[in-house]
């Protein structure tokens, strides 16, 4: 016969009336219940509801740790109540404390409002449409080897229980942070070997690399991974996503230079005209930006050549001077047009002004530093 224990359950209660006025601040209520070693916390709650207080409110469904309904905080740790046993978590004084998940509004007792995390998951566009050449092509399964699939095995295991949102200190501070669950979901669709050519892929990366609502808030505390009941490792997914995001952010401008067709979404993609840059102020901005980039390139080549021994053009003082100023002005122009174009972009995601300004000042200081180093190299310190 299984041994039983009499346990005191300290359960956080919270109720509000329909007109949204609080009856009381959340408070703790104690219940006593005899439980055997096969009783999960959820079963204990169900018994309490049946025997003690029918108004005790919590969510549950599958009772096998798959549906993600029963997330709550037991003895300070976010868990699935159906997957842990009372005897395993009991404290020395024979009590178990049960609270609702943190970082989200309470609806009643242990039931919380998970709509914000769920909307964050929606915002990363967890879907794709493969571009197919013709519409009436019969549908085929996209091949994927077990090795390719293994890359997403962890991330696809997420049951959207939102325990990680409850554990995440960053999300607790800043509700703009996309959060571990949504990050994992974004990573799952990014890392999948299928869906490579989907339009959503670019938008998703743009979205998560933009400063607001993006992934950069994650400070790698790792609490999300330690509470995840499905070993999804959202912290790892977020770091991998950061790498993907950085590469994306770095490659994007390069792509723009090489494929002038994608310079501006308002451009007719298949029909770029010679005077596309006169279409509007933004296209002009792009034009100036790319033009100044050519100036910088020339400048850089000139200096690199001049670094060789003996320097190529030492006797052409005036030419060197000219090229230096030409390059420096190009660099300035490039930075300014960069900043200016950034402000003009209205298609999502529009990076925030402070972010752009930071980039701008960074760039300018970078240019000045490089120029100083090169000049001092050529002419000696001044």
């Amino acid at each position: 016969m299984a041994t039983t224990l009499k346990i005191t359950f300290k359960i956080k209660r919270y109720k509000k009336t329909a007109d949204e006025k609080f009856l009381k601040a959340p408070y703790f209520e104690n219940f006593k219940l005899e439980v055997d070693k096969n009783t999960t916390v959820l079963e204990a709650l169900k018994k309490l509801k049946a025997l003690e207080d029918g108004s005790l409110t919590f969510r549950s469904a599958c009772e096998m740790g798959m549906c993600g309904s029963c997330g709550m905080i037991v003895n300070g740790k976010p868990v699935l109540a159906c997957s842990i046993y009372c005897h395993d978590v009991i404290k020395k004084d024979k009590t178990i404390t049960i609270e609702p998940l943190q970082n989200m509004p309470i609806i009643k007792d242990l039931v919380t409002d998970i709509d914000d995390p769920l909307n964050k998951m929606r915002s990363v566009m967890p879907y794709w449409d493969q571009k197919s050449k013709t519409n009436n092509e019969p549908k085929k399964a996209c091949p994927q080897t077990p090795k390719e699939k293994a890359r997403i095995d962890e991330a696809t295991g997420c049951i959207k229980c939102m325990l990680c949102y409850s554990a995440c200190p960053v999300y607790g501070q800043d509700k703009n942070f996309i959060g571990p669950g949504a990050g994992t979901l974004a990573y799952r669709y990014e890392a999948d070997s299928r869906g490579i050519n989907s339009t959503e892929k670019q938008q998703r990366l743009d979205k998560i690399t933009s400063e607001e609502n993006g992934i950069w808030g994650c400070s790698f505390v790792g609490d999300c991974s330690s509470v995840c009941p499905k070993q999804v490792d959202p912290a790892k997914a977020l770091q991998l996503l950061k790498i993907k995001g950085s590469i994306h952010a770095a490659i994007k401008p390069l792509k723009k230079i090489f494929t002038c067709t994608s310079l501006n979404s308002s451009l007719p993609i298949n029909n770029p005209t010679a005077s596309w840059w006169l279409q509007n102020k933004t296209t002009l901005g792009y034009f100036l930006r790319e033009l100044s980039a050519i100036g910088i390139t020339l400048w850089a080549i000139f200096y690199v050549l001049n670094l060789s021994f003996p320097p190529l053009f030492t006797n052409l003082q005036s030419l060197t001077n000219f090229i230096f100023w030409f390059g420096f002005i190009s660099a300035l122009g490039h930075s300014i047009s960069w900043f200016w174009v950034g402000l003009k972009i209205t298609t999502p995601p529009s990076p925030s002004k402070s972010f752009l300004f930071l980039k701008f000042t960074g760039l300018i200081s970078g240019w000045i530093l490089i120029s100083y180093l090169l000049i001092s190299n050529l002419y000696g310190k001044f």
Partner: protein, 563 residues
């Protein structure tokens, strides 16, 4: 309830069937406004617990004919063969469609969708995603549905009534759990995809949300329920909790052993052994237990499922969830230990009577998924046919309704007296007081159903069951609630669900009593033989003023005559 929310299509249920219907409707006509109403967040629907896989002919060495024949044979020739033919034709397309949407199917080395054997299937044709197929499927569908702004989700809304007017379904009444407010919806078409009613039984693989709401709603709206006596008992539920150990455990090579460590199925089905259809395996287990060859456990007599010879790596790769739940919920590790299992209530073959286009006789009302009955499962469902059914007929329901609403110029007007009556009824029920409580009554109902309409039935027990049911219904009237809040009142919902369960229970008992033969999942000790001459037909149950009425419907035969 002054405002009435209007949509073109209302889909009730966010499981595999409901989500698939929503996606089909929006992709058929992106201009439609679609409501997806579910009493839990769609990702919490019980589809999430499905483990084994989805059947469909995707291997070149397999054939549609073979799938159809296996299904019909498995159904004990009670399936409608035109429905089965349509089903097997569409199932492979669905598997590929879901793949295209991102479902992480398990793969062969070459990168093709892998398939496994399943009970009653003559070829490996069950596509799977480890042993969490339902979970991956449901989340893939849900994530896909996030793409469409046209689909408005009403998460945690509980539907209490289908409104009708002149033989047409016009709308519904639903409670928003978060506020407790009651709302009316009107629509040109309604799809019921509310899943089964397995929670009716005490020992079940189904969760507390599977309360047969859709079946009860349809019955009240005057629509017939079909073949309600056929309830599948899965052979391998974990002895203590009833959590499912998927059939995949046997298809990957697991053995069933009795007390003497004998693979006892050799005495019942020497050819197919552990891979026989579920009705047969479950009944074999019960016979073993009756013959004294069961294993005594604190939870009753069991048999053992042996996976030890499969090895850790196979179990890890193909049956991770089996290992996880066996460890967590039974304290045994299948790599080293035997798993105690016993038959457990699992699946409703019967349900709302619909045609090949998923339409009910009530204009504007459609149904798909476990709650509907076409029938493709007849007297016994083959494992992995039901998720495929949810996809195939969910899709058909979505397409059919999308076309149907085109023929309807505007939303029907709701009958105000019906509205008033329902909101008054709910208001009254919310504040009932009395000596009885919801939970103990549900427990008694579950025990009654196990005894009267369990795996083994006879006239006497069924009749006792009916008498007990009348008593339970009387007790229901005396229930008092201790939670009178409006916001998120789960006790009140359980109270409403219990009423639905009582309604469904009655249809089961009456149909089971009327079928004086044994066929598939319906096993009567007083009529142990299949009787094709008298009982090769479906049972339809409808509500009449003086109680439930039973009528007969012929089985459609196309290519496969009775043997």
């Amino acid at each position: 309830m002054e405002t009435i929310t209007q949509h073109d299509i209302l889909i009730i249920g966010g499981g595999a069937a409901g989500l698939r219907a929503a996606l089909a409707a929006v992709e058929t006509n992106p201009k439609l406004s679609i409501a997806l109403i579910s009493k839990v967040y769609p990702i919490r629907s019980h589809t999430v617990s499905a483990e084994g896989g989805v059947a469909g002919v995707i291997n070149p060495e397999d054939s549609l004919e073979a799938h159809a024949y296996d299904t019909i044979k498995g159904s004990n020739y009670l399936a409608d063969q035109d429905a089965v033919e349509l089903f097997v034709k569409k199932a492979p397309l669905e598997i590929i469609q879901i793949e295209n949407w991102g479902c992480p199917w398990s793969r062969t080395k070459e990168g093709k969708i892998a398939t496994r054997n399943f009970g009653g299937m003559s070829k490996p044709r069950t596509a799977y995603a480890a042993d969490k197929t339902g979970f991956y499927l449901l989340h893939s569908l849900f994530e896909r549905s996030l793409k469409y702004k046209q689909i408005t989700r009403y998460d945690e809304w509980f539907v209490t009534k289908i409104l009708t007017c002149e033989n047409q379904a016009t709308g519904i009444i639903a409670i928003q759990q978060r506020t407790g407010q009651i709302f009316a919806f009107s629509a040109k078409a309604i799809i019921l995809a509310t899943g089964g009613a397995g929670y009716l039984y005490q020992f079940t693989t189904n969760s507390n949300i599977k309360t047969g709401d859709g079946m009860a709603l349809a019955l009240q709206a005057g629509v017939a329920l079909k073949d309600m006596e056929f309830i599948q008992f899965h052979p391998t539920g974990l002895a203590r909790t009833g959590i499912l150990i998927t059939e995949a455990a046997r298809s990957e090579g697991g053995y069933l052993l009795n007390k003497n460590n004998d693979r006892f199925l050799k005495n019942y089905a020497p050819k197919t052994m552990e891979m026989s259809p579920r009705d047969l395996v479950s009944q074999a287990i019960i016979s073993e237990i009756k013959a004294g060859r069961g294993i005594e456990t604190p939870y009753g007599q069991c048999v053992h499922l042996d996976l030890r010879h499969l090895g850790e790596s196979l179990i890890k790769e193909k049956l991770p969830l089996v290992r996880e739940v066996a460890k967590t919920y039974q304290g045994v590790d299948p790599v080293y230990d035997l798993i105690p299992v016993r038959p457990v209530a699992h699946y409703f073959m019967g349900g709302i009577d619909v045609d090949l286009k998923t339409a009910t006789p009530l204009k504007g009302l459609f149904s798909a998924g476990e709650t509907a009955c076409l029938s493709i499962h007849g007297a016994n469902r083959l494992g992995s046919n039901s998720l495929a059914e949810c996809l195939v007929f969910g899709n058909i329901a979505g397409k059919t309704t999308a076309k149907f609403v085109d023929t309807q110029p505007q939303n029907p007007t709701l009958d105000q007296t019906q509205l008033k009556k329902e909101s008054d009824r709910l208001a009254k029920l919310r504040s009932v007081s009395g000596p009885e409580r919801v939970a103990p009554l549900k427990k008694d109902l579950g025990e009654m159903m196990e005894q009267a309409a369990g795996l083994i039935r006879d006239k006497k027990n069924l009749e006792i069951g009916l008498t007990k049911l009348t008593k339970l219904k009387q007790r229901y009237q005396k229930i008092g609630l201790s939670d009178h809040e409006e916001i998120f009142n789960t006790e009140f919902l359980a109270y409403l669900e219990l009423s639905n369960l009582l309604d469904v229970a009655e249809t089961i008992l009456i149909s089971a009593l009327a079928r004086e033969e044994s066929r598939g999942a319906h096993f009567r000790t007083d009529f142990p033989k299949q009787n094709n001459r008298q009982f090769h037909h479906h049972h339809l149950i409808t509500r009449a003023p003086d109680g439930l009425k039973i009528s007969l419907k012929p089985v459609t035969i196309t290519k496969w005559p009775l043997p």
